[in-house]
């Protein structure tokens, strides 16, 4: 291992510019003559738009244009799309309503876009928006996930019972038979709470139109600028791809919420041509709460069957997923193909059957949020398994180990083919780290102080790098899920790597450079990673689903192989040897069995000056590209154990210990991976203890600011003990799995299992706030007093 190659904890190259305030985010971009957009948003969850009178507003100072849904329709601007087709149980396609960027005839959630005001200044745009008179015909709102399907209120006429689809996966008959034959059945009703993503940088967009070229440029906070260009071009119809450049510069976190193509950037880029001026919009935090796609929001009944030996024989779930008022870009895939295929967990379960109904409600659209479907699945599986162990009187760790998948590859009944893993090794290591043997004593010590101590397990598995493209296409995906890379070697041997992956906090400028530095044997300073600009990178699929390491870096790996192969040809001419006799190692091309060498930089120079070979025999230059389409998902897995102490007097849950043992396959930069684990756990703890988006019956978001929506803070979290096990992924050349979402997937059931262990009953939902835990602990205290 070199000091900057794979496996080294290289300090993040990008951090200097972030920490010194020199990052360049979308809001930092200001174009000459730029105007500002403000969106007039619906204050009602559900209403008809009887009329919009903007006459007085249009005459106000600084106003350049006020546009509504009718203006978009007149320009034939298409609606926002959902890029994953789901089919119902009966084979019919899902029932999707239209999703115009600016509302037409009806608004469907608080924050829905009624009109855009473009003005010289933001304050003028806001002033004008207050002068617009909208006559709303307020309708009753449907808000509740569980009862949306039966509600009288209909969100979209296309889905008359508010049901977008009723979908299923698995082997129903075998599952029912297994439940009939079961010795014991564990049943749970679960609510997976709705979350607001809250990246530090809110969404923003600057649309620019060059009249001379007839070309648009959109600067936007995107995790996948090429997908944004594709959708804006092919579906929304802003401009052909060759006349539309999308730039996603530094992006301050996304957690999934910046995958999607939203109304605001669509309108900004369109309006730039309309008013003949660049148009900028930056979300404020309230707008982010109201209009960023939310996450989770499932209601589930789940059952687990076991036989007389405590072997799991079957699992079934019935889930209702709230997709909000409109189908966001990948919303339909989240509670289906990103959820049900993970319901086997790390366990050998012969029969699984999942039914998922997706519903429309008058709430913000719901889509992928860190983990996307997999946290929901893991919560179901790990709660069921923990409760089953308790009901069967078995040690939860041993019960898990008894039921683990131990032979690989393993075909589950729900699509997935687990390729490699060693779940028992992670469990053993986690038990050591947490000092499982000492838990009894620690519980007694807490009890002496009037506290309740509990320990909870989460033995998660997840699937990253959704692939291969042909397979996901057959499941309804509208896109392929490969990645591209181009390696440009400069004449002096420095390297630019153009990648279709997008970094918004993950540290790609460091980890990707480590791969290049290690493989080409060149200093890491000589490597630059270029991403986030459709004019520079030809095509790419972007960053989400923990795919950039496994898929994005594999594409770079493939392109580097091509560079080395070409370099060997050049070196053969220069060193006057046969190409087959050239080896490449440690940055040098070498003739086997001789001391004749050519370093990488000299080889690059030779490739460009082309003095030593004939241009007809070998093309000059050193630049190679690759598209990499994986052969399978990757399956990171691990065991997280959480230990809590509850103060029954206040209901405060203190996380005392956290052991996280993850198997991410080959790790490029352990420091960055640990950071990902920490951040993921923090978000998972947030879901378990603190966060919860709540709408009232009228569809008003009552948690629309940090005053009421509780984000995790440093003092809510313990110091994490992070360990790793390594079983390399066999389906990509680097053996990488994926680490970006693991913590957020693993953490919630670990916390709730620990709390329910402490309480001695299962009656607590997420978020387990102090009030909720206090109430639940009263039961425990009463029971203990009775004993």
């Amino acid at each position: 291992m070199s000091a900057t190659g794979i496996g080294a904890s290289v300090r993040r190259k990008e951090d200097h510019r972030y920490i010194t305030g020199q990052g360049r985010y979308t809001d930092d971009i200001n174009r000459p003559g730029q105007a500002h957009a403000w969106f007039l948003r619906s204050p009602h969850a559900h209403a008809t738009l009887k009329s919009i009178d903007a006459k007085a507003a249009a005459a106000m100072p600084g106003v350049l244009g006020i546009f509504t849904g009718d203006d978009l329709a007149a320009d034939k601007v298409g609606g926002l799309i959902c890029g994953w087709m789901i089919h119902n149980k009966d084979g019919t396609p899902m029932r999707a309503g239209a999703h115009p960027a600016l509302a037409q005839r009806k608004v469907r959630y608080v924050g829905d876009h009624v009109a855009v005001i473009v003005a010289e200044t933001l304050a003028q745009a806001r002033d004008a928006s207050e002068a617009i008179v909208v006559d709303y015909g307020v309708l009753p709102a449907v808000v509740d996930t569980a009862s949306a399907a039966g509600a009288k209120t209909v969100v979209h006429a296309e889905a008359p019972d508010n049901t977008v689809f009723n979908w299923h996966l698995g082997n129903k008959a075998e599952t029912e038979a297994a439940f009939k034959a079961a010795k014991h059945v564990t049943k749970l009703d679960i609510v997976n709470n709705r979350l607001v993503p809250n990246p530090m940088e809110p969404r923003a967009a600057v649309g620019d139109y060059d009249q001379g070229e007839g070309a648009f440029t959109l600067y936007t906070t995107s995790q996948n600028p090429h997908v944004a260009r594709l959708v804006l071009s092919a579906f929304i119809g802003i401009a052909p791809e060759n006349k539309l450049r999308v730039i996603a510069p530094d992006v301050g976190g996304g957690f999934g919420s910046k995958i999607f193509i939203y109304a605001e950037e669509t309108v900004c880029v369109w309006a730039a041509k309309k008013v003949g001026r660049p148009v900028k919009w930056t979300s404020d935090r309230t707008e982010a709460f109201l209009s960023d796609a939310h996450g989770r929001d499932h209601v589930t009944h789940a059952e687990l069957a076991t036989d007389a030996d405590g072997k799991i024989t079957a699992l079934r779930v019935k889930t209702t997923a709230n997709l909000g008022a409109y189908l966001s870009t990948f919303s339909s895939s989240v509670p289906t193909y990103l959820y049900a295929p993970l319901l086997s967990g790390s366990y050998d379960i012969p029969a699984i059957y999942a039914e998922v109904d997706a519903v429309y409600t008058n709430t913000a659209p719901v889509d992928a949020y860190r983990g996307a479907g997999r946290p929901e699945a893991t919560f179901v599986v790990e709660r069921l398994v923990e409760v089953a162990a308790r009901q069967l009187g078995k040690d939860p760790a041993k019960f898990r180990m008894q039921n683990y998948v131990k032979k690989f590859p393993h075909q589950t009944p729900v699509i997935m083919m687990y390729d490699a893993g060693n779940y028992g090794a992670s469990m053993k290591k986690a038990l050591e780290i947490i000092d499982y043997k000492g838990i009894g004593k620690r519980k007694r010590d807490s009890a002496r102080n009037g506290k309740l101590r509990g320990i909870g397990f989460s033995s998660y598995i997840e699937a990253c790098g959704i692939a291969p493209s042909a397979a996901v296409g057959s499941l309804g995906a509208g896109v392929g899920l490969w990645e591209s890379a181009e390696v440009r070697v400069n004449p002096v041997g420095t390297v630019e790597v153009l990648t279709g992956s997008h970094s918004h906090g993950q540290g790609h400028e460091t980890t990707f450079a480590q791969l290049v530095s290690g493989k080409l044997g060149i200093p890491i300073e000589n490597v630059s990673i270029v991403h986030g600009d459709t004019d520079k990178v030809q095509m790419g699929m972007g960053t989400y689903g923990s795919r950039s390491g496994a898929v994005g870096m594999s594409a770079i790996f493939k392109a580097l192989d091509k560079v080395i192969a070409k370099g060997k040809k050049v070196a053969a001419y220069v060193l006057e040897a046969d190409e087959a006799d050239i080896d490449f190692a440690d940055g040098h091309f070498k003739v086997k069995g001789t001391d004749k060498t050519l370093d990488f930089g000299s080889c690059a120079l030779q490739a460009y000056i082309a003095h030593k070979f004939n241009g007809q025999d070998l093309e000059p230059g050193l630049k190679e590209g690759a598209f990499y389409d994986p052969t399978n998902f990757t399956f990171p897995a691990g065991v997280h154990i959480c230990e809590v102490e509850i103060d029954p007097d206040t209901g405060v849950t203190a996380i005392e210990r956290w052991a996280a043992v993850d198997d991410f396959g080959v790790v490029i930069n352990p420091m960055i991976v640990e950071g990902q684990v920490h951040g993921g756990i923090a978000q998972g703890v947030g879901q378990a203890l603190l966060e919860g988006a709540k709408y009232n019956a009228d569809g008003q978001l009552v948690t629309a600011s940090f005053m009421d929506y509780c984000m995790p803070r440093a003092d809510d979290l313990p110091s994490f003990d992070v360990g790793m096990t390594v079983t390399p992924c066999p389906s990509n050349p680097l053996g990488i799995k994926g680490c970006g979402e693991a913590g957020a997937i693993a953490a919630p059931p670990a916390v709730i299992n620990a709390i329910t262990d402490a309480l001695g009953h299962e009656d607590i939902a997420m978020p387990a706030t102090p009030q909720a835990v206090w109430r639940a602990a009263q039961k425990t205290v009463k029971r203990m007093a009775a004993e």
Binding site: A123, T286, T650, G651, M707, C710, T769, P770, Q771, W774
Partner: protein, 267 residues
Amino acid sequence: MYAFAYHRPATARQAAGLLAKKEDAKLLAGGHTLLPTMKQRLASPAHLVDLGACADLKGIERKGRNLVIGAMSTHAEVAASPVVQEAIPGLAYLASHIGDPHVRHRGTIGGSVANNDPAADYPSACLALGATIVTNKRKIEADAFFTGLYETALEEGEIITKIAFPVASKAAYAKFRNPASRYALVGVFVAKRGSDVRVAVIGAGEGGVFRWSEGEAALKARFAPKSLDGVKASAKGINADMHADAEYRAHLIGVMAKEAVARAVGK
């Protein structure tokens, strides 16, 4: 935010003059309530009179049996003041637990008391310690000052100049923070001066800060945490919201009072 005219007088007297002269003028102290409200376009004063340059509103001193704190003293200044730490350490503790460092370096005691936010910390200290709120016009006892949610005895044009806290023999504060906002979900300030014991509660009352008489009676008998065993605050008149219903808040009054007493007696 809408446009407004900005004034920065050098004395409280000049500030009062501006306040009287300018129509629709508002005082700006630390701005932690007013500025966010203005940014959200929920308030739109035509004139802002910034008290930040009024040197006569600053300063912390011990005057006989009183600790006197200038209205424009920031929470950080109160928390770090050796005078406060020596006279009423519980008050320094309270100040050191308001908001976060940013808030503590901008927010002021006068602004907090004048605003009388039902979840702010200072009103509980004023009430429990029997403070006197001194304005440019008169002196107002704390018992008469806090009149309701965001309401005080302050009249039009009146500016708090300082707050005088009688030094107590024992005083301490304990709060249970709202997990999201970190404001006091329930805060309890206890103070013992001679035979008098006062327990003031913030965060919980529908009408803002109030004195918990059952707690006071129990502690007058003996000023010790144990005295509060079995003394329950009634849930009647207690706030309920999504973070805490009345029953939970009422329960926390007892828990926090006990914690405050334990702190006051050094246990």
